[in-house]
């Protein structure tokens, strides 16, 4: 039986979306135990209750931030050693959700359909030491280029950046954009198609990463400040069983 954890409704629009989700769950005959987060019962508490009941599949319904919170609770409880091998599913309700894009889902209906077939894969997760498990991304943004020290498995780099993104498989990308650049300079780059911006973009992958800085800088997960520099991030390989779309793994050859 599926155990659904809905995000708290903040408006009528949210309620309509939740009703739509419930309609599709009944349509696909995958209705299970539905729980709505409230100010009295948070998503974390509902998830913890579900795990204590012994459910094997937990579905998070809501925004990316809500999905992150449910994943964090599952992994924290799993870490205590009481429950193992929980299968996790998602129904992102935000049309601009990065999770929706990542799972190549077109919307709520397709997400519900994916749950019907219960095809799952095991994915990597990022763990910010002592803070939070990251299912989507952890980010740092600055208005002016800021000096940051990055120490990874076998290398270290010092760099002025404006944007830094840590993905769940501990792929790190950072960018240094001069936001104070003059309008004429921007216009000339646009006219002549300068590719200088591409050269300022860096991507690295590592198993462990430490980020340090002279100033204290915040790290955000879905617009929520979760920690500050210095912090250490780990890659947890094959850490979460995630239900995915049925044709997600169809290769190009099979398509032909």
């Amino acid at each position: 039986m599926y155990y659904y954890v809905f995000e708290q409704s903040h408006s009528n629009q949210d309620k309509k979306v939740h009703d739509k989700v419930k309609f599709h769950l009944e349509e696909f005959n995958i209705a299970g135990e539905v729980n709505h987060a409230t100010p009295a019962r948070s998503a974390e508490e509902l998830t913890d209750m579900g795990l204590r009941k012994g459910v094997s599949t937990i579905i998070a319904v809501g925004s990316d931030a809500h999905i992150n919170r449910v994943v964090d609770t599952i992994k924290t409880v799993e870490r205590s050693g009481m429950w193992r091998d929980i299968v996790f599913g998602v129904i992102p309700t935000d049309p601009n959700s990065s999770v929706l894009e990542r799972l190549r889902l077109s919307g709520i209906e397709e997400a519900c359909e994916a749950l019907k077939y219960r095809r799952f894969t095991t994915i990597d997760l990022c763990y910010i030491e002592g803070v939070r498990y990251v299912f989507s991304t952890a980010e740092m943004h600055f208005s002016t280029p800021t000096q940051v020290k990055i120490r990874a498995d076998r290398w270290e780099a010092e760099q002025s950046i404006t944007d830094l993104i840590i993905f769940s498989d501990l792929t790190l990308s950072f960018y240094s954009m001069n936001r104070d650049e003059g309008k004429i300079s921007k216009y000339l780059k646009w006219v002549f198609g300068s590719k200088d911006n591409d050269k300022d973009y860096s991507i690295f992958r590592a198993k462990t990463m430490q980020i340090n800085s002279d100033q204290v800088l915040p790290l955000f997960i879905e617009n929520e400040a979760v920690t500050k520099t210095p912090f250490v991030a780990y890659k947890l390989p094959r850490a979460l069983k995630l239900i995915v779309k049925r044709d997600r793994f169809i290769s190009d050859k099979e398509k032909e």
Binding site: Q159, D169, D200, R205
Partner: protein, 192 residues
């Protein structure tokens, strides 16, 4: 996000110290002080700087490299490229305008080095010999069987011929005795 197929990219303003290893492509626009290793391609872009050994399947140099370069397949030094160190590559391209100070080594497969045509021919010759011996053997066997058959048939024929001859001689002798008998009878009658 699962970005397993994403390459490693060192931005133009990045100065990286240490060992940079990635099974996928590595693209360097900035500076790297240390080892750079990939199982695929390493691209050292224009204005990029690498101080340390570089090893990959294919290496493309448009910037500056101070260290040994080991390319499993191909090394290409573009006109803006500068290499100060020894290089080892199976396929080497140095464009006009590029700078290279060091020794170059081109490892060649021993099999390929020993005149591939000869080895091919030798192989084909051996195969041909095998084929001919097979053909000869089968031909000999065929010929032998034919001889045996011929011998058998000749023996049979001879026996039959001998028997025929014997029968014929017997018949002839019988006929002659009969003829002789008739004649004798006739003679006896005449005498009487």
């Amino acid at each position: 996000m699962q970005e397993s197929d994403v390459n490693t990219v060192v931005g133009s303003s990045v100065h990286l110290t240490g060992s940079l290893k990635d099974p996928n492509d590595i693209i360097i626009h900035g500076s790297v002080e240390g080892e750079v290793a990939s199982q695929q391609n390493v691209v050292i872009a224009e204005n990029a700087l690498v101080k340390g050994p570089v090893s990959a399947k294919c290496v493309s140099v448009s910037g500056y490299v101070n260290g040994t370069i080991s390319a499993e397949d191909k090394l290409e030094v573009h006109p803006s490229g500068r290499v100060n160190g020894n290089i080892k590559a199976r396929d080497l391209i140095i464009h006009s305008g590029a700078q290279f100070v060091g020794k170059s080594e081109m490892p060649v497969d021993e099999k390929a080095a020993i005149a591939p045509e000869i080895t091919d021919e030798a192989g084909s010759q051996d195969e041909a010999d095998e084929k001919t011996t097979l053909v000869d053997g089968s031909a000999e066997e065929e010929l032998a069987s034919i001889d045996i058959e011929e011998e058998n048939t000749s023996e049979v024929d001879k026996d039959e011929v001998v028997e025929d001859i014997e029968e014929e001689t017997d018949n002839k002798s019988k006929k002659t005795t009969e003829d002789k008998g008739d004649d004798e009878i006739d003679l006896e009658i005449d005498e009487s």
